[in-house]
Symmetry: C2
Amino acid sequence: MAVYTDVTAEDLSAHLTRYDIGELLSFKGIAEGVENSNFLVHTTAGSFILTLYEKRVDPADLPFFIGLMEHLSARGLTCPQPVKMTSGEALGELAGRPAAIVTFLEGLWIRRPQVHHCAAVGRALADLHLAGEGFALTRRNALSVGGWRPLYERARDRADTVATALGATIAEELEHCERHWPQGLPTGVIHADLFNDNVFFLKDRLSGLIDFYFACNDILAYDLAICLNAWCFSADYEFDFAKGSAMIAAYQAVRPLDGAERAALPLLCRGSALRFLLTRLVDWLNVPPGAVVTPKDPLEYFKKLRFHRKVVSATEYGLS
Amino acid sequence: MAVYTDVTAEDLSAHLTRYDIGELLSFKGIAEGVENSNFLVHTTAGSFILTLYEKRVDPADLPFFIGLMEHLSARGLTCPQPVKMTSGEALGELAGRPAAIVTFLEGLWIRRPQVHHCAAVGRALADLHLAGEGFALTRRNALSVGGWRPLYERARDRADTVATALGATIAEELEHCERHWPQGLPTGVIHADLFNDNVFFLKDRLSGLIDFYFACNDILAYDLAICLNAWCFSADYEFDFAKGSAMIAAYQAVRPLDGAERAALPLLCRGSALRFLLTRLVDWLNVPPGAVVTPKDPLEYFKKLRFHRKVVSATEYGLS
């Protein structure tokens, strides 16, 4: 939540001459995006988001991210649409950083989602999975099952300082997931981070999906499992069956799950809870001194994981 | 440069029902304002700035700041205009903080001002001084000459760690200003912080003045001295006579300086350089561990102060 790179009006005005989006009227650094610097830009042609990609983003991934937003918006998904320069390129350079300008999406993210919000997310996720078909570039998911053990090893020695038996539980889960992770399920482009703050609503209507910087190729139903974890638990981390069943039904109305996906759903939910537990735990244990950003609580996902471990069948998530 | 208070879409939507500015479309925390939390808000009626006043602002000062923006904009000055609730009040409460919504001004601040920018600032400053007449509330300037010695005392012991003989120079200047500070000059509402980032331009036309949170009642010509310091030095802190004379001439075209003001200008310039040297020095010596904000360099104002100490007559600033 910061602006890492300073951009001057003079430099941005000059940069905008490469585009056909009017004259610069104003721009403000916005407190969003942990990884990049983002600016809300007003021009005579409307509102845009300028992103400067900072050091933590691999420049080799940028064609995937930008190409994906182009691909999805061309297929009717409401997501930020990269604006091309008159040269035809969408990726430029500003203030010594790779830079892109995308359309600004109006919308609000919901802190306390209701059942109908969860249904809308299920539908939009299936829309995204279908719209992603045919996208030519690929990006492996560095945070899928193969990436979890290295995270565990960074956290192992101090895991029990966060919660009793946390280390042992993670070790068991990791072993279980590595041994049983499903093979052969339908794959495609997944968002991989479709949390509340990445979904916009206007008057209860879903108005857009944002932040494709974890998007990758992976098991499609794993993306649904991430959303069940992110959206379908109560404030005290009890699974909300009404939300889960609404999300799954809305997903299936667009893209029905096959038998293997249905059978794998509990394990995919365990895996996705473990993935966010691990990344949050590593962040929690490695807060730099004096940091202003409070890391997210890893125990939220420990509680969710404990729920998933007791699940026997996907019907417990509301799969009918 | 931060957002200190978290605001939810649900809470802001509810808050906006107290106003007649349409439906909430989006809002983003913006990386501006050292003291307060600011959000750029889009509604169906346009763009607005929402400010939550944080602990460093004295709530007793808020009626002055908000009333002043109302007073000035009613008199045609282009500054943020507080939006009133249907109750008639402009100051509300949101997320446990005093909160105000003001109109959003398009515009860009200039890093490398030219002579014509300095002229525009001189004219706008005089406009502000005239528009401020008749404003009923008053606020004393805690950072005028009487407020400098306590700052000096906080910095004295470590001043020479920043520059050789800095402490002794400040002591001399302080003594000089306290002894000779002009009495009886015309006073009124001054902006007191009209730096580059508080003045917006669109296509070389001054489009607005912002950030009235240092505004107070003080010597009007002291405000001009602050602007001469902020706008009319080169990047290596040499006084730029062309800029200074353009600013003073443009100011005088609207509000001519009287004889006493003209005579006092060199001392007012010394004083205002000392004021910013002192506040920057205190900030510089008191950076909290792990802070992300880099304090502004106090030596910039030490160099400017050394220039002013050699000035004999206001004609050296371009006063004709």
